[in-house]
Structures are given as C-alpha cells and as structure tokens.
C-alpha cells in the first residue's frame, strides 16, 4: 500500500512538474481543521493532493466561524467546506471586507435543519410538517425541559438561530445546545434503543443518513432576507420565521493571495468538486469505521483515484 502510494505520488509529481507553468511558493499552504469529520477528512484529502503537486501543507485547528477572518488576513489559505446555511453569513461578511475569494462550488447540495430519525414518525405521523411537529411537542419532552419538547441543537459556535426560530414560529420547544457533534450522535444512539422520539440538528451530506434513516422537518420555505427583515416570511413581525435553505451550496473559499503565491495549487483547487455521496463516505470512514482522519484520507484517495487524478492535470 505504502509502495503504491509512493509510486503514484512520484508519477504525479513528474506529471505535475511538466504541466505547471509557474512555480508554487515553498511556504506552507495552511489548511484549517474544524469539529466535524467530513471537513477534517476532506482537508486531508485536498492536502494530500496538493502535496503530490510538490507543495508544503500544514494543518491548523480553528473555529469554523472565525476562520473567515483568518483567511482574509492570509493566516489560513483556504476553507474546503463553506456551508451556505451555517457559514453563509460569515462568508458573505468576509467577502464584503475583501481579501477572500469564492474559488469553487462543490457538486454537493447541502441542507442543515431540524431533523428526526424515521422511528419518530411512528409516534408523530403528521411529520415532516412543522405544525404537526409542534402538535406532538410533548412527545419530545425530557426531565430538563418539563412539558416543552426538547430540540437538541448543534454547538453554539455554529451560530444557528434555533431559539429565534422557536420564538418566531411559536414552537412549544426548548432549544438545548449540545457541546459537540458527537454529543448529538450519542443522544441519537441512546434514543434508538427504545425508539424514543427525538428531534435534533442534522445536515446532509453526513454519515448519519446512512446509519439512521430520517427526514428534515419542513419549515416555511427559506426566502432571502427572512433572517434580517421581519416583513419577509409568514410571520409579519419576526425574523427567522423560516427554515434553512433546502438546497444550499457548498463552496471552497480561499485567501485572494493564493492564486499568485501557489498558482498550481490554486488551479487544482479550482477543479475540486465533491458529491454528497463522496462527502458522506469520508465522514463514514471516521465516524463509523473509526479510522484516523489521515488514514481515512489516504484510503479515500486510494479508492477514488479516477475522481481526483484529473484535477491535478
């Protein structure tokens, strides 16, 4: 395996030297690592591909919202997963300030919202409509939330606006934020044992859809401005009276100095595009198969050479 890797990298290296016109800087390309698996593996996958071009790559663990400020300053070189729902606002704000560039868009379509595993539907058949969810709120009650239903949200630094949504739509739910993605999976697994109804924050592409089949709750459709203008959306005097975008983008953002400093790496990055399936696969290698992210990236590269080889040409 190792030998194959070496040979393929050597071959690639030879190929890339002939094709790349301008020389990449020998300074390291800094890739951020966040707190969900697909991003970590994808960072390593792209990092390994860039290394095969002869670039130096370094990884840095950063906050997934604060990273856009770091990219603008050039402290971090690019972000491989910009989710529209979660990071669209930070990304747009950084774009307005300048210094950051929208490099490419993945083939994947993303959605992040309230979600339930299929067994929940048995107890609350009106789903996925949000009004039906609200009628069954008592089913989701826990000791902590008393008579209200519990919605288990993501870590607060993902800056979701669930509490605002609960308020705007008059939901009989209380938002409890998990400190990490893993805490959500732990609660889901616990609920699965006795098929307890549960509604959590989830997103696609993600490994979870393979393990726990489920559906997103259908909130009033996302309209631009629903988060800032009370007039937009069904409730006239509230913001966030809507769901998250149902077919959001997944982009790659980069520091705008990248194309001059590492032209070859930049050219490759522009071609990178993953599908929902490929991203879920990456997350699965870590979350289910329990591989180390570096090994998972290597395994994915070995198994999908036909996918990524053309990007390096």
């Amino acid at each position: 395996m190792k030998a194959i890797k070496l040979v393929s990298i050597a071959a690639l290296f030879a190929a890339s030297v002939s094709s790349a016109q301008a020389q990449d800087s020998s300074d390291p390309i800094i890739i951020p690592i966040h707190n969900w698996s697909s991003q970590i593996v994808m960072s390593h996958v792209i990092g390994d591909i860039l290394q095969s071009l002869g670039d130096h790559v370094e990884y840095v663990t950063t906050d997934s919202q604060a990273v856009y400020e770091s990219i603008r300053l050039g402290d971090v070189t690019f972000e491989p997963e910009v989710w529209e729902g979660a990071f669209g606002a930070s990304f747009r704000a950084a774009m307005e300030k300048g210094g950051i560039e929208d490099v490419a868009t993945h083939a994947a379509i993303t959605r992040e919202d309230w979600w339930y595993p299929m067994w929940t539907k048995d107890a609350c058949p009106g789903l996925p409509d949000w009004k039906a969810l609200n009628d069954c709120a008592a089913l989701f009650a826990t000791p902590e939330t008393g008579t209200k239903g519990r919605f288990l949200g993501g870590p607060v630094d993902w800056l979701k606006h669930d509490a605002e949504k609960v308020d705007a739509l008059g939901l009989n739910f209380q938002v409890v934020n998990a400190g990490s993605a893993a805490a959500i999976w732990a609660e889901l697994a616990a609920a699965e044992k006795d098929k307890k109804p549960i509604v959590v924050f989830n997103w696609t592409p993600n490994f979870a859809e393979a393990v726990w089949p489920g559906e997103f709750v259908n909130f009033p459709e996302w309209v631009d401005g629903c988060d800032t203008d009370p007039a937009v959306g069904p409730v006239p005097d509230k913001t966030y009276d809507c769901g998250n975008p149902a077919n959001g983008y997944l982009k790659i953002a980069a520091w705008d100095g990248m194309k001059d400093k590492w032209p070859a790496a930049y050219a490759t990055l522009k071609k990178v595009s993953f599908t929902n399936h490929q991203i879920a696969e990456m997350a699965k290698l870590v979350d289910i198969d329990e591989m180390e992210p570096e090994d998972a990236a290597q395994a994915w590269l070995d198994a999908n050479e036909s996918v990524w080889q053309p990007w390096t040409k």
């Binding site: 698996s37 826990t142 902590e144 409890v176 934020n177 805490a183 609660e187 044992k193 870590v286």
Partner: protein, 655 residues
C-alpha cells in the same frame, strides 16, 4: 503539652454571628421573602441601568489594537516567537522550517532525557525520564507529544524570564507590587476562554497564539515565588555582599538570586506544570499536538484513546515535575581547582555521546528513528470496544437514566429555579453577610461589591446558572470526598495510594472528564455536574487527608489517654484541627469547579461558559472580557471568604 492544647481546642466553640453579619443576613432574607411584592427594579438591574460595558471594552480594545497600533507590536512579537517555535518544531517533529535538521530520532531524545534524569536524581529519575519517552514512542504518539513539547520548550522559558523580571521589580518597588498583585489574582481566576480570544486576535491563530496564552497563564506563580524568595534573603548574607563591595548588579546576580534559588526553582516547577495544563486547552485556538488530538477524540467520544493520551500527559507531567523538584533539592556541585574539564562535564559528554550514537543507529534501524502505526502498541480502540459494551449494559443504562431523572427533577431544577428566583440584591447581601462574618466590614464590602458588579453587567441570570452548577457539584463532591478522605486518613498505608491517585487525577487533562459524563448521562446538567464533581472531589479528598495526617501525635495521645473513642477522637480532635486545611481544599474545589464549568460548555450548558464559547466564534473581545470578569469576580469572592476564614481559624488554633 496536653494541658495546654486541649483547652485551646475547647476555646473555639462556634461563635455567634457578629452583629453586622446578622443584620446583613436579615436584610437578605427580608428581600427574599418580600420578592413577590418587590418592584422589578430591586429584583434585577433593569436593562436601562446597565452600563454598556461590552461596547466600552470593545471600543477600548479596538482603540488599543488599531489606533494605537498595538497589533503591529504584537504581530512583531509573534514573528519572533514564531521563529523560536519553528526551530523547536523542526528539531522535535520535523516541521519544514529552518534549520531543516529534524526530526530527531525518538531514541536520541529518550537517551538525553535519561541522562538528564540521572544527573538530577540517579537511576530512578533516569528510568522515569527515559521510560516516559519510550512509552510515548511505543504507544504511537510521538509526533503529537513533540508538537506539544515544542511549544512548552518556548513557552516555559519565556514565562520564566518574564516572571523573574516582574518578580524582581515587585520586590524592588513595593508600589509596583501593590498594583501587580490584584492583576495576578484576576489572571489566576480568569476562565481560559478569556485568554484564548485576545491571543488569537493579537498573535495569529496557531502555535504562536497558543504559546502566548500559555505564557500568560503560567507567569503568576513565578512572579509570586521570585518576590517571596528575594524578600526572605537573610540580612547577614546581604551584609556580606555589601562588605565585599558588590555593585547593585553583582548584588542581584551573585547574592540575592542564588540565595532565593529554592523559591525560584519552585516557581519554575509551577511554570512547567501550568504550561502543560494550558497547552492542552489551547487546542481550541489551533494549537496542534496532544490537545488537538484529545479535542478531536472528545468530538467523537473515544474514551479509550483519550485515556491513553491522558496517560501520556500525566507521564510527561510527572517526569518534568520530579526532575524539576529534584533539581530544587540538588545543591550545586563544586569541583576542586585543577579538575580536568571532562571530569567536570562528565554527564554532559555522556549525553552528547548517547545523542550522537542514537542518531547514527537511527540511520540504519528505522524503528529506532520512528515507530509507525503498524508497530505501535496502542490498545485504545480495544478499550473503546469494551467501554461501549459496558455502557450498553441494561442495568447501567437504567441506573443512569433513573439518576438523571431523579437529580434533574427533584434536586437540580428546584435549586436552579430558587437561585434564579432570588432577587439579585438578596444574593449580594447573603455574600456580604458571609464576608462580614469572616472579615468584618471590609470583606463584606468586597464580597457584596464583586457580586454587585456582576449584577451590573446584565449577565446575572447566566452567572447564577454558573453559580448553581458550581455549588451543586461542590456539595456532591464534598459529600463523597470528605468521608473518603477521612477514611483514607486513618492509616498511612491507605493514605499514600489515595494521594497518588489524587495527584494523577489532577494532572489528567481536564476535558477528558467530559467524555464519560456525556457517555453516561447525555447532554444535560447532570452530565455537567458529574464532570465537575470528578474534578472537584480531588482537592477535597487530598486536603482532608493532609489535614488529618498533620494533627500532632501528642494531641492524639492525649485524646487516647483521656479515653476518647475513635469517633470522639475524629470529631473532637482531628477534624477541628484539620478544618483550616480542609477549608483550603474546599476553596480549591470551588476554584476547580469554576474552571471546569466553563469547559463543560462543550457538553452543552446555558451559563456564562456557553456565551464565552459563542464569543470564540466571532471577534467580540469586549463581550468575552466582560463574561470572563464575571466568572473571575465570583471565584474571587469565594476565594476571599474561605481563605479569610481559614486564616482566622489557624490563628485561633495557634498553627
């Protein structure tokens, strides 16, 4: 002896509350009782009366950062730090930077560590130091551990130098000391999130910011110990220095500093231990290494593998701790005139020889250079499988579910609602009463004042949730830790292993404790309190044991002679005597709890910690600072009250 001491103990019955405290407490009670009819104004500080501290602080930070151009200064400093970090990073784990020599083979590092161990503590230390590095390599954590150590190698010396200089200044200029002490007290109680955000903004994300945060966190004890050591230098020594005509610099260099050697080295020991604790936490701002790995394992709830990393950190801590302590005890060796240089530097030469030898061997034997994933001996994933199987057990599951339901519904929610129901003024008066009882009007003003500031920030409700969590956890910890401590203190044979467990549990990286909590209880307050409880029990047990073991033999003999039963001896002699020490343990438990409750934001809380975690996502320095001060002020209030009480009690007991 017995004639004098026994009456002394009798002489400290429970004193009646001093008048002032009783009045303050009565006011607090009256306010609480009258709550339903109280105008809203007295229950909570109304929004319009809350000064916009956050905006002020933000404006101040922005002014310092951009208008005064501090960011250029800090970025220049971070460039220098980065250069040093790059050198250590290259040598230890081969980061692609100048001098392009590394990574050193693990055998070479382990060999040098063993020789250093031998130099300060003979074979035992040699085995400990060499063994630690061998374990790190064999378990497959070499690169991670070296990433962590490469930052400590820069941060600890920097903290030492800065701390030493500040300590000397504090000793020379009493005014400077008076200004510095409160700042150090705040620094020691500030939640670590508050260190992290400014570090990132001013010093660039990654190892540099981690290094800066670590240095700031590790400085206070170094300053305090240096100042303490210099103040204690005997006047005879100083006179001798003056008589031999030393200049001021010579006095400092050859008289004061060598005489204060012991205290300064204790400070060094503290610096190393705090650096190690902090360097793990800086994973939140992009510091690579053991902390980052631990964080990602926590994000996937892999307890077994986290445990292995915990063991590595404990081993590194124990090695650094013992070596630096052995160095404190070891006095400098003086050679006779004319000893050849190779004999003076024998160990240095051996270390050099072993180092070069290992590098040469590593050229030919790959395993001596680096142990790859196929050859490591990690058992982490196997342990994880076992843990999962145990947790899936029906009985355990049912027990934790019952405990969670019971604690939440019958204990925690009523307590939380009660704390939230109390008018702010009532809480402030309760603390003022406690302050008055231990330290008179000054302490009352301080305790009440600190909480009044918290009320004025507008974060009162969240602060009360933090307080409620801390108190619940500490009460449970006391209920478990104190009896265990008393039991362990009975025999020396039991006390020692328990103390060892305490030491280990304390050096374990704090956020490892979050993992079993989530696994057992899920995302809720019980889980948070469980994590704090494990961490806070340690000092309670430890100081109980030490307090009871420190009771003089004569007293115990006297009690035996007067025919006391074992429980009489415990309650009438040992515990009264040990109480001041136990109070210190109680105080530490509260400080630990304030520290842990903020980390518990990673389980999911609704308190100040959650808001602090939220600020990490943006760059709201002002809000971050205000929240941090709320936590620090509450912690300082408890610190003041308990330490004051302990000191008075000690005086009464005459110890």
């Amino acid at each position: 002896m017995s004639d004098t001491t026994v009456p002394v103990i009798r002489a400290v019955p429970e004193r009646a509350l001093p008048g002032g405290a009783a009045i303050l407490l009565a006011v607090a009670l009256a306010l609480a009782v009258a709550r339903p009819v109280l105008p809203e104004l007295l229950v909570r500080v109304p929004d319009w009366a809350i000064p916009p501290y956050q905006d002020w602080m933000q404006a101040l930070f922005d002014f310092i950062k951009d208008d005064l151009g501090l960011i250029h200064v800090t970025r220049a400093i971070s460039a220098i730090l980065e250069w040093f970090l790059d050198v250590t990073a290259n040598l230890l784990y081969g980061k692609n930077r100048w001098p392009y020599l590394g990574p050193l083979p693990w055998t070479a590092v382990a060999a040098v560590a063993a020789v250093v161990g031998y130099a300060v503590g003979r074979w035992r230390m040699a085995l400990l130091a060499g063994g630690t590095f061998a374990w790190i390599a064999l378990i497959g954590q070499w690169d991670l551990a070296m990433q962590t150590l490469s930052v400590i190698a820069v941060a600890a010396p920097t903290a030492f130098m800065v701390g030493l200089i500040l300590g000397i200044l504090a000793w020379k200029f009493p005014r400077f000391e008076a200004a510095l002490l409160p700042i150090l007290a705040v620094l020691q109680t500030l939640p670590f999130f508050t260190y992290l955000l400014p570090a990132v903004i001013f010093f660039k994300v990654g190892p540099t910011a981690g290094c800066v945060a670590t240095v700031v966190y590790a400085i206070p004890p170094m300053v305090l110990m240096t100042a303490l050591g210099l103040k204690k230098v005997a006047s005879e020594v100083i006179e001798a220095g003056h008589m031999s005509g030393s200049t001021r610099w010579q006095m400092l260099r050859h008289v004061y500093l060598p005489s204060a050697r012991t205290e300064i080295l204790v400070g060094v020991n503290q610096v190393i231990m705090l650096s190690l604790a902090m360097v793990v936490l800086t994973a939140f701002i992009g510091m690579p290494g053991l902390g980052a790995k631990l964080l990602s394992l926590m994000n996937s709830l892999k307890l077994g593998r986290s445990f292995e990393i915990g063991v590595t950190i404990v081993l590194i801590a124990v090695t650094l701790d013992r070596i630096s302590k052995a160095w404190v005890v070891k006095q400098p060796v003086h050679f006779e005139r004319g000893t050849p240089w190779w004999e003076r530097n024998r160990l240095l030469l051996i270390a050099l020889g072993a180092f070069v030898g290992c590098i040469l061997i590593a050229q030919f034997v790959p395993l001596a250079n680096e142990i790859d994933r196929k050859h490591e001996l990690s058992m982490g994933s196997e342990i994880d499988t076992v843990i999962r199987a145990v947790l899936a057990n029906e009985t355990i599951d049912a027990a934790t579910a019952w405990l969670r339901g019971f604690l939440t519904v019958s204990v925690l929610i009523p307590f939380r609602d009660a704390v939230l129901w109390l008018p702010s003024l009532s809480v402030i008066f309760i603390l003022a009463a406690a302050g008055y009882a231990v330290g008179g009007p000054r302490s009352a003003l301080l305790a009440g004042g600190f909480f009044a500031i918290v009320a004025l920030t507008g974060w009162w409700d969240r602060a009360m949730i933090t307080l409620y969590t801390v108190l619940s956890a500490v009460v449970i910890a006391a209920a478990v830790g104190l009896p265990l401590g008393m039991l362990a203190a009975r025999r020396k044979k039991w006390a020692q292993p328990v103390l060892l467990i305490c030491d280990t549990a304390q050096t374990f990286p704090s956020f490892i404790y979050l993992i079993p909590a989530i696994m057992l209880f899920g995302v809720n307050d019980v889980s948070v309190i469980f994590a704090i409880f494990i961490f806070a029990t340690v000092p309670l047990m430890r100081y109980t044991i030490e307090g009871i073991r420190a009771v003089p033999e004569e007293l115990l003999e006297a009690a035996d002679m007067s025919g006391a039963t074992r429980s009489q001896k415990l309650w009438k002699v040992q515990i009264p005597f040990a109480l001041p020490t136990m109070a210190i343990g109680f105080n530490q438990a509260i400080m630990f709890a304030f520290f842990m409750v903020i980390i518990a934001a990673f389980i999911g809380t609704q308190d100040l910690g959650q808001e602090l975690q939220r600020t990490l996502a943006g760059n709201q320095l002002g809000k971050n600072f205000v929240l941090g001060m709320c936590v620090a002020l509450m912690a300082l209030t408890f610190d003041h009250i308990i330490m004051r009480w302990s000191a008075t009690r000690r005086k009464v007991l005459g110890v």
